[in-house]
């Protein structure tokens, strides 16, 4: 039986696939379970603000249907997380990043975990965001608990059956975004 080691009065928010969350709450913990997905934890130590995203795939393939988008891609979730942090007072040059996940749990599948990990490292490099800790790759699922107000992270291996299933290709759906309004 899993034992909850969290201190009392902690509000745990789960960051699901395709989501991101930002908080400065001292009693907030952002949690997620990862297989081949990658979660980025960003932290600004000056304003004591943090955020986490959880993406399934790196970037849209060149062949993707141009009339449709999918917010599960890392390239969007990275930017949305950074912008939300900036909107709440963080500064990009102060951001510190942690990366977790990117396991290749099922040997028969494409190496999605490796592609996600490589994308995340490359993204941080291009954006000049310091990567202070990573726990990427391997064959085990991970659980990540992140305290956004302190920047503390706990990452541990969990049973692969706990990690959400990832399909090799995301399910495209009519664009929920990209709407245009001319004034």
């Amino acid at each position: 039986m899993a034992v909850d080691l969290s201190p009392p009065n902690v509000t745990r928010l789960t960051v699901l696939q395709g989501q991101f969350k930002v908080s400065a709450g001292p009693k907030v913990e952002l949690s997620t379970v990862l297989g081949s997905c990658v979660a980025t934890c960003l932290y600004d130590p000056v304003v004591e603000l943090g955020g986490m995203n959880h993406f399934l795939l790196p970037e849209p393939p060149a062949s993707h249907n141009r009339g449709e988008v999918d917010v599960h891609y890392g390239v969007y979730l990275m930017e949305m997380l950074i912008n939300e942090m900036l909107a709440y007072g963080a500064r990009k040059d102060r951001l510190r990043a942690h990366l977790y996940g990117g396991a290749n749990i099922r040997s028969g599948m494409q190496q999605i975990g490796t592609a996600n990990a490589e994308f995340a490292r490359g993204f941080l490099l291009r954006e000049r965001i310091e990567l202070v800790r990573e726990d990427l790759g391997g064959v085990s699922a991970r659980r990540v608990d992140f305290r956004p107000a302190s920047g503390q992270v706990r990452c541990r291996a969990v049973a692969s059956s706990d990690a959400p299933e990832v399909t090799p290709q995301p399910v495209f759906r009519p664009a929920p975004r990209g709407e245009v309004e001319l004034f």
Binding site: E59, R66, G67, E68, V69, V71, Y73, V75, Y76, M78, E79, M80, I82, N83, E84, L86, A87, R91, K92, D93, F123, R126, E127, A175, R177, G178, E179, V180, E181, L182, F183
Partner: protein, 123 residues
Amino acid sequence: MSKATRILTVDDSASMRALLNHALSTNGFDVSQADDGVSALEWLAVNEVDVVITDINMPRLDGFGLIEQVRGGTRHRDRPILVLTTESSDEKKARARAAGATGWIVKPFDTDKLVAAVRRVAH
């Protein structure tokens, strides 16, 4: 043959700049890029442009500041400026409109809709 529409995209995300450059260049636009509002103003001081597409949250000078400075100047004050942002709040949209933005596009962008919007405002 008519000259390609010249676009300046302003975004602090290198990945988003790459996506925008690909989406717009392959649709025949002449694309230049800046990584924040200050770089955009420096570029605009010495270059001509038909449409500006800008992000909102950027270091040094954000999208609101960029729009206000372009509208307050003389060289490009009548150029269309499209805001391309992950922000979706009505308050931010109203602020962009008040600053003089021409339109508001929510990321992740849809290439076809973005291209159609640029063509509509570029005259």
